[in-house]
Symmetry: C2
Subunit: 287 residues, 2 copies
């Protein structure tokens, strides 16, 4: 396992972590101040400053990207299928313009939450079928752009409203069906928050292998979790044995960024520099 | 699938559903008023009125039990192992005195939450090993009392603090290891709240079969869920396709009670009779 204790060369900042403290250009400036070399920006943060300005700021700061958040939300009623397809194609185009190595996919849950206005449904099996069909279509477009897609299995607590792909096994089963030749164009983004509980995790990480492991995200699971969406913990403040999980992905050859993504009302309330200083310190000690 | 629309013969009330509105004897009286024929009482509610008085009240009301909640919390540090064993043996004795058909097991998460005061740990794999060892020991005692044990897989959101058995497959794997001969003494309690999201659920219910399906619990998953412990929904108010799940367990031959267990600050704030009337109406229409 790589030694992170003496520098933060392999720390990437998911820009949602400080989304309330500044716009994307301000976040990029802060990364420069703290010697952070990579980010994973969100589409809405890019849109807020404009795609060209965002791309220029990334370039001028000499930043790499560890991903682009996020494509997906594939589930909708029939009337919205074209909208879903076009939205995801734009996402590929944006990721290409920004120089992202992959797109992180949050696949969507039941249609009424994934694409508001869609007809209400309780058919999660149907949602899963729809995800696979729409993802297959997006993959064709992404292949032409040479932009890999990373399915992020989300914690089962988000199965209804955010993603009906909820385990690493389920995500890898989709990868095997849609990309049986392991072209490198389809894989997974593993976030410790979503997968730490899974009794089959270690075997599935080994199954994924280097070519399917496209991104690795860290934060922590707090006890109690007061809000299922926005009470994620700073690494070290919760119950996840993060080093054990990083060791497992690195044992497969993963050598990319360890990306910090924390949705937290608490941390959004602190100054950006304090958050980044804490991220760096925890990256060196507990990740 | 059984027709529930014209009566509530197969409704059982888990007494936690109205735990704030009255003690166990008052809950039993209310069940009699509403023609509810079965309950699943909690140990603390039994203790509050006394075991003998509880057993007499159950007998005099002519109630059946659909289970006894709950044994388990197997994980602890070394100093507390004896305490855990004795506590679970007492649970078996109480269940026997009450005439329960099985004990519902919430197995415990990390030791510091399962048995407060235990040393802090992040070793969930170790917790799982400990669960299996302690459960094997409890099973020997339960067999002598002819009291079946029902492992309840809990939603992964509770993996840290309540139960590190989080999928039906994981629970059935334990059953197969500890009870390979399928004696009927070990099985699962399936609560739709905990399992509805699982992409492998239907196959695992078929794998369980009638002899491993010891209990079936219903409530609903609300979107948004404002509190991960105490914001469970009344059946029909959330996203779970409950009828589809009941059809799946009944297709295996399950013919027991459909037990309503709702932990909800909202429903705890309403009069007991209103809650029971609503339970009966929803049991007939959406379960």
């Amino acid at each position: 396992m790589r030694d992170f204790s003496s520098d933060h060369r392999w720390l990437s900042l998911n820009t949602a972590t400080v989304r309330k403290q500044g716009d994307l250009v301000e976040i990029i400036d802060a990364c420069a101040r703290h010697g952070i070399r990579a980010i994973d920006p969100w589409r809405d943060q890019v849109a807020a400053v404009g795609l060209e300005r965002a791309a220029r700021a990334v370039r001028e700061a000499g930043l790499e990207l560890s991903g682009y958040c996020r494509g997906g939300m594939f589930t909708s009623d029939a009337a919205r299928r074209g909208e879903v397809r076009d939205d995801n194609r734009r996402c590929v185009d944006e990721a290409k313009a920004l120089g992202a190595p992959c797109i992180v996919l949050v696949v969507g849950g039941l249609p009424q939450y994934s694409r508001p206005g869609s007809e209400t449904s309780k058919d999660i099996a149907g949602a899963r079928t729809q995800v696979e069909e729409a993802l297959a279509e997006m993959l064709e477009y992404a292949k032409q752009a040479k932009l890999p897609l990373a399915i992020e299995p989300l914690h089962p607590a988000y199965a209804a409203d955010r993603a009906c792909v909820n385990t690493t096994k389920q995500a890898l089963d989709i990868c095997d069906r849609l990309d049986p030749d392991r072209t490198g164009m389809l894989g997974v983004a593993l976030d410790v928050y979503h997968i730490w509980w899974d009794p089959e995790l270690m075997g599935q990480i080994a199954r994924a292998g280097q070519d399917r492991l496209l991104a690795f995200h860290v934060c922590d699971w707090l006890v109690p979790t007061r809000d299922i969406l926005n009470d994620r913990g700073m690494m070290g403040d919760g119950v996840i044995d993060i080093k054990r999980l990083r060791a497992a992905v690195e044992a497969q050859g993963f050598a990319g960024y360890s990306e910090i993504e924390i949705f937290s009302s608490d941390w959004w309330g602190k100054p950006m520099d304090e958050v980044l200083r804490t991220c760096i310190e925890r990256h060196r000690t507990v990740v």
